[in-house]
Amino acid sequence: MKPKLAVLKFASCDGCQLSLLDVEDQLLDIAGAVDIAYFPEASREYVDGPYDLTLVEGSVTTGHDRDRLRSLREQSTTLVTIGACATAGGVQALRNYANVDDYVQIVYAHPEYISTLNRSTPISDHVKVDFELHGCPINKQQLVELISALLTGRKPNIPTYSVCVECKARGNVCVMVAHGTPCLGPVTQAGCSAICPAYDRGCYGCFGPAESPNTDSLEMWWKQLGVTDDEWIRVLRTFNTAAPAFAAASETTANREQP
């Protein structure tokens, strides 16, 4: 019996599940190795749970989604969150800093039609998560690695160290040292293979905090490069704004601002 795979979403942009369709070279092999039981973005077929492997995209922003997630967890042997939304609340967690009623009013003419939670929260706030893939979006090769590792019983090779490791391995020139471009790579988890520095741009943190991120030290250095408090706060408050390490670092700076 092939393991049963489910892929589904909560609040998100669909990009992370699209990654699975983006592995053009391996898609049919994967489809041969697992039984794609439920993947509405790609198939009308709906096979009931339980599922051996469930890939969850998106963050929880409504009470209904919270309930849906709980029953999904019950049906899943291994539940993996894919992407910054599912893992850290996503860009929509910026609402956590604002009054959602205000947001609803800005976007919708009839706020009374909209039901949402005040906060956008990661999956792990609600149910046990077996593995998390970082990234906004995830790296499709990491997704393939995760699936093949779980199928073979290997420890998924998803390192938690910083982007710098991949940056040097890729042969990039450090944009922070050599160009004076502020880079969030030293506190951001590897996984993207250091795309931004390869394009002469500083990392802006889409893979979320790395293991043991020293944001205080990096902040001091960014300031020396001319970055303002506001800019530092904004870069931490993007796709992984609700990831504890980034949230705490941005709050430290924000609180420091008010004398």
């Binding site: 609040a11 976007v107 909209i114």
Partner: protein, 428 residues
């Protein structure tokens, strides 16, 4: 006799939507195309962000068409601060857009829509009987992704687009490495168009008002004007004078319409019908050969138009690479200025409008984003309403599948629209 057809969770569309249909005798009594995907409040949290962040932030509205968001955003910001990106930098923008059209169109044609016509639940199921077809699609799609990756750093939420240009521009040699694949892709797209034109289509022409971006000269990716088959011809900045967005109870997405006129249609069929004469002669000839001529009004046939546009995107990519000279600088300076800016561009699924107000410090004070699926929502509902009469003899399953197929013909992107599906048909 009355019956209900209901699809709680529409498959093979991007995002979460539902359809509910109540039919009495030969008439539709109630119809709801409902978008329940939870809202993500982009317009709200864009406030207070720096204008240069807009391309990266708005890309996250949609993982299928991030380039479209980035392009409309940079267009709006550049409009606001009064700079113009032209020459090779503009050509590179067209090139990366080619990549997105190819990727998105091929995804839709092969993985989302073709299974409907061939009677499969999914492309994976379809691959069991039509392995070569699916493999061709995957290879075509990959070329689109490769193009976006080379220019943008990665296929989803590329990192290399910025207000003013790019962070790093490719060398000619890097671009030339793609040429053989693009040449193969063009031929494959032409074959795809011929292949899908052989499908069976319901007889169903609709009196749409087509709307698209216009730049006066070329088949549009980008442009500064908006035109329609109903005579609209306005600069992008007059958007709010002509169009409006309504909020209806059943949907987390806003519905756009032409003021005092109602539904309109954006997307490949609109672009094709409004700009047919701008297609290269061989693609015009292909359109005639495949019986869609200079205008297509049958939503089921959008798959043919998408295939022709895919060929077009390969063609344009080859032309851009052929003429490419690496720009002197990867971007032009972008000094902040307090102003309002409007930007339109053609996402694979249709016109995407952005408007921003920014202050002197460069911070966004107001944002408005109207994605194609919001604009097509009314049109989709009207299609469904129009499709039922004369077809109530069909059993529920067939009817449901055909209605779903009609919706899928729009390649709706619900993730975009919520900032948008579940199908229920009730027959009484």
């Amino acid at each position: 006799m009355s019956r209900t057809i209901s699809v709680d969770y529409l498959a093979r569309v991007e995002g979460e939507g539902a359809m509910y249909l109540e039919i009495e005798d030969d008439q539709v009594k109630d119809l709801q195309f409902r978008i329940f995907e939870p809202p993500r409040f982009f317009e709200a949290f864009m406030r207070g962000r720096h204008f240069t962040e807009a391309p990266d932030l708005t890309a996250r509205i949609c993982g299928i068409c991030p380039i479209a968001y980035q392009m409309s955003a940079v267009a709006a910001m550049e409009d606001a601060i009064g700079v113009q990106v032209d020459g090779s930098l503009h050509e590179l923008r067209r090139l990366i857009y080619c990549g997105e059209w190819i990727e998105s169109h091929v995804l839709h044609v092969y993985l989302l829509h073709a299974p409907d016509f061939l009677g499969y639940e999914s492309a994976i199921h379809m691959a069991a009987d039509h392995k070569e077809v699916v493999e061709r699609g995957l290879r075509m799609k990959k070329i689109g992704n490769d193009l976006v990756t080379l220019l943008g750093g990665r296929e989803i939420h590329p990192i290399n687009v910025r207000v003013g240009g790019f962070y790093r521009t490719p060398t000619r040699t890097e671009l030339e490495s793609l040429v053989p694949d693009l040449e193969w892709g063009y031929q494959a797209a032409v074959e795809t168009a011929r292949f899908v034109a052989g499908f069976e289509f319901p007889d169903f022409d609709r009196p749409y008002e087509f709307v698209s971006t216009d730049n006066g000269v070329r088949y549009p990716f980008m442009g500064d004007r908006i035109i329609s088959s109903g005579g609209i011809d306005i600069p992008a900045r007059e958007w709010n004078d002509v169009f409006e967005e309504l909020h209806v109870e059943r949907s987390n997405a806003l519905h756009a319409r032409i003021k005092e006129r109602g539904a309109y249609h954006v997307g490949p069929m609109a672009r094709y019908s409004l700009h047919f004469e701008k297609l290269p002669a061989e693609l015009q000839a292909l359109g005639h050969e495949l019986g869609v001529g200079g205008e297509c009004r049958n939503p089921y046939k959008s798959i043919i138009i998408r295939s022709i546009e895919t060929a077009l995107a390969y063609r344009i990519a080859l032309d851009v690479i052929d003429a490419y000279e690496r720009p002197v600088a990867p971007a032009i300076p972008t000094p902040a200025a307090a102003a309002e800016g409007h930007g339109v561009s053609e996402a694979p699924r249709g016109l995407l409008y952005h408007r921003y107000l920014i202050d002197a410090g460069g911070l966004i004070t107001d944002a408005q984003i109207t994605p194609p699926t919001s604009q097509n929502q009314l049109s989709i509902e009207e299609d469904l309403r129009a499709y039922i009469p004369g077809r109530t003899h069909l059993d529920d399953d067939t009817l449901q599948w055909q209605l779903e197929q009609a919706i899928r013909g729009y390649d709706p992107c619900i993730s975009c629209a919520t900032h948008f599906l579940d199908l229920t048909v009730k027959r009484t």
